[in-house]
Symmetry: C2
Subunit: 547 residues, 2 copies
């Protein structure tokens, strides 16, 4: 079984044994174009601020390079591979023709013809209107998204195209998640997975937002869902067909077989999202298992049998993680990014000399770890990249309180680590207060490599942390979905139980530290409440933007 994880800067292929989830070989391919932020490739066409694009050719190259390399590294004969599954960043979305050709292949000099990467943030004005109009009309789907549609998602990005380049918008017969587009390239059949349709495409209770709502946004936006819907694969919801997670989207085409070196005709799994497949890789797809994928940002994924309106969640989608359950998503817009920013920007030369080869994060961690809880006298609000949950406000900014002339870099570093843990606790508590129990907190992602940080999270959350057993969670998760799609297991739960893995209670809270953190968390909440209304921070942002 092959799983392929399409990330922000590279794609990773892993060959996984169906019988036990053993990872037999893997390979990574860096995108030649990376993130396109300043000018279009082979062009001097400049992009605006907050733009972020990608090249579909880079994704195809992952299939052509990383997949054969992973198979070769595994020592497995390609003929033994019975299926391929993929996951993608989301919402990464592109305009295409009816046959799936990306518009940027036709008109490469037009910025809006290119795929918009998840972190393209130039559609905020469009998202603002989407939210204002929906709130005024009391659209029933709005609470399913914590009350806010993100500028990162399908409707905001498409509305930006419509209003800034109507020709591209008109030419785009399809507006498709990269997660689904790559599957289309693999099997030659268009499908739309239920996960991105729900979380990024405002598909709720069997339909997209109504025409009269869309008309209020822009009369030419009325038929937008026609670019999203497909009648070819999957269940029918109000006339729209969506493909279930763990389902089969089709079989590997001759073209894709040539790219990958895999046998034509093997199963191609329905597309999915990197964070969501990771839950299966951690064998954490039962109600109340919250999986936090902690890296530059953190994404929280949790199945539940309860439907509730959780303030500030990113979304709740029926069947959105595993069929038969409600799937919740929440997030922290910057986590590892905050630590990286601090280390890059605010650590003096003397520290670099001391750190030597251990690296600055490890060195600051070693200094910070020596301190008793609260010794630095600091509280920070972790909004340096805005707040995704529970406030859903990208115009918030960071706050650091309590510095004195004796404050040192390791003090601030520790306070920043703690601030993200407080942010996580705020999310967990918001779910529980809303009637959605969080039974287990499971960690995946790159920050797992910092045991001190993990212990802070355990202490702040006052609960044991489970940790994923794989360093290649998304690719493993994709392979698990492919195994289900190929019929090797009856469903995702069963496949995850065999092929996924995690260590329960890998970190347990220390009662004394947890008590101390309770006091600090109360101060964090006080700051959160004070600055969370955004009045002061929005005024500062407005002054900044005018300056």
């Amino acid at each position: 079984m092959v799983g392929v994880d399409f990330g922000t800067l590279s794609g990773r292929a892993v060959v996984v044994r169906v019988a036990d989830g053993a990872e037999l070989g893997s390979a990574v391919h860096e995108y030649a174009h990376g993130v396109i932020e300043r000018t279009l490739p082979d062009s001097d066409v400049r992009l605006g601020p907050d733009w972020a694009l990608q090249s579909p050719q880079d994704w195809i190259d992952v299939l052509r390079v990383a997949v054969p390399q992973a198979v070769a590294a595994s020592g497995v004969s390609p003929e033994q591979v019975i299926g391929i599954g993929t996951d993608f960043t989301a919402c990464t979305v592109l305009p295409a023709t009816a046959d799936g050709t990306p518009l940027c292949f036709e008109t490469p000099s037009r910025p809006h013809a290119w795929p918009k990467l998840w972190k393209h943030h130039a559609a905020q004005p469009h998202a603002d209107r989407i939210n204002q109009v929906a709130a005024r009309r009391g659209e029933a789907w709005l609470p399913r998204y914590g009350g806010k549609i993100s500028s990162e998602w399908e409707f905001a990005k498409a509305l930006q195209v419509l209003e800034e380049d109507p020709e591209v918008y008109a030419r785009a017969e399809r507006w498709i998640e990269a997660a689904d587009w790559i599957v289309w390239q693999l099997c030659g059949v268009e499908s739309r997975n239920i996960c991105t349709a729900g979380y990024k495409g405002i598909f709720q209770d069997g339909s997209y937002p109504p025409r009269d709502y869309l008309a209020e946004l822009n009369p030419d936006f009325v038929d937008f869902p026609g670019k999203l819907a497909t009648g070819q694969v999957g269940d029918t919801f109000g006339g729209v067909r969506l493909a279930p997670l763990g389902g089969s989207a089709g079989t590997l085409s001759a073209t894709a077989a040539a790219w990958t070196g895999l046998p034509e005709g093997i199963t191609v799994a329905v597309g999915n999202v990197d964070a969501h497949v990771t839950a299966a890789a951690a064998d954490a797809v039962r109600p109340g298992q919250m999986v936090a994928i902690m890296g530059t940002s953190t994404c929280h994924i949790m199945p539940s049998d309860q439907l509730a309106e959780v303030p500030g969640m990113c979304g709740v989608v029926r069947d959105g993680i595993v069929p038969g359950l409600w799937g919740y998503e929440a997030g922290q817009s910057a986590v590892g990014d905050i630590f990286a920013w601090f280390v890059d920007t605010f650590v003096p030369a003397s520290y670099h000399e001391q750190a030597g080869e251990m690296g600055m994060h490890a060195y600051l961690t070693s200094l910070a770890a020596e301190q008793p809880v609260g010794r630095h006298g600091l509280i920070a609000l972790d909004w340096f990249g805005g707040n995704r949950s529970v406030l859903v406000d990208h115009n918030l900014s960071g706050v650091i309180v309590g510095q004195t002339l004796a404050t040192k870099p390791e003090d601030v570093y520790r306070a920043l680590v703690e601030s993200t843990a407080y942010g996580a606790r705020m999310i967990v508590e918001t779910f529980e207060k809303s009637g959605v129990p969080v039974e287990e907190f499971v960690v995946a992602g790159g920050l797992l490599k910092n045991p001190f940080l993990m212990q802070v999270y355990a202490d702040v959350l006052r609960r044991p942390l489970s940790v994923i057993g794989s360093e290649q969670g998304p690719a493993l998760g994709s392979a698990i979905h492919a195994a289900v799609a190929a019929g090797a297991y009856a469903d995702i739960e069963q496949a995850a139980a065999v092929m996924g893995r995690r260590t329960e209670a890998a970190y347990v809270p220390d009662p004394a530290r947890a008590d101390a953190y309770d006091r600090l968390y109360a101060e964090y909440r006080a700051l959160h409440d004070h600055f969370g209304d955004g009045r002061l921070l929005h005024r500062l942002r407005a002054i900044r933007n005018e300056a």
Copy 2:
């Protein structure tokens, strides 16, 4: 005329021409013991946290070394010198015998026998009791100090001695400001100047605090004012004799003539404080001329013909700057110290490479100066060293609001500069709201060397800044006072008009920037009000201290 300025780390002597204030020669002598903070000299007796002592021998050495050097450098014959004036840090205070011998000369192994430097902060619990008891009793003098007696001042430091080393307290027949002790060494006669008696010694309306109040603090503290009073020189206030500023304390003794190389019998001026004499050096001793001495911290000095209770001022003292006027003092506990802390602690190596020989302050200033007002999106509360005025709370701490992942060191540096300007505006506005007009803002001190910082202050304050015309303000000011004491001028105002100097409107506000700062200052005020009650910051401090 010779002026001698006793600072925190060194003493400076300047020879000044009486006719026009020209500075003819100067010399600096570094204190051999500097600030004694860890162990006593030639001893392994350790000091507690927040202790700061000095050695009287270091001060004598300034007279022995710096004064002759300055005279030699001036080319003036010692016989032409007709007087000597001095100024000192305050409240720097020591226990002595009835003949003026410092107790640390007798029992050098006892910490409390040594002079306590102004920044000795270990008497905070005693200051807290002084304030609590005074507030409960409604002591009439308390509002003269903005409602709070500082832990730095005479009563708090003496109460600490009494309660921690009663033998030293009992042996201390005199408890004397270094400002007065050095004059005693020069002329052999004890005097007490009206300035330190008022600002640091709680001498108001002709008397010290009453016996029954002192008894409530500690029954053995009842007779403490007996260690302060003197009947030998000056005006009588309710039985206590105080020496007026610009007055003569006596004539140079044979011993001191031998130290200094100056003629025996010349006039020795009454002692004074470094900040207060600077007003004369800037020729700013008329009502409404606020002199800000801006260095590691900022001290604000202003004569006025109005008596008012200004919230959070350090003190108002009749004749405290010049005879016949009320003298006001306020302050910011950390200013240059904040910038130094940031540069030392939070600036990365790449900036040091870029800065090269221009130095980090100049480099960060050059980057910060390019920004339009508000472009960094930041507001800081300048409480990294606590707040002296207007909140009078050393347990407050700094706050930085608005940082994002794009925030750079020069952004924070500029925000810190601005925060101190907002703090200055808060002080000016508090005076004016209290009915004490501020007619002119005059800057002296080391931060004058940063024109960008000065312009920020002009823009934030919305008023022209005058700047002192001497780089040796305190020593010049002392010489001016000596000229008055020697009878060369009728009073300080006349001497200052001839010998002192300043440039009016050296910096003028830019209306557009001032408008932009008005908006930011409103946000500073909002933060000031929110955090100024200290609840959150005090809880953080308490958690820190317990940790």
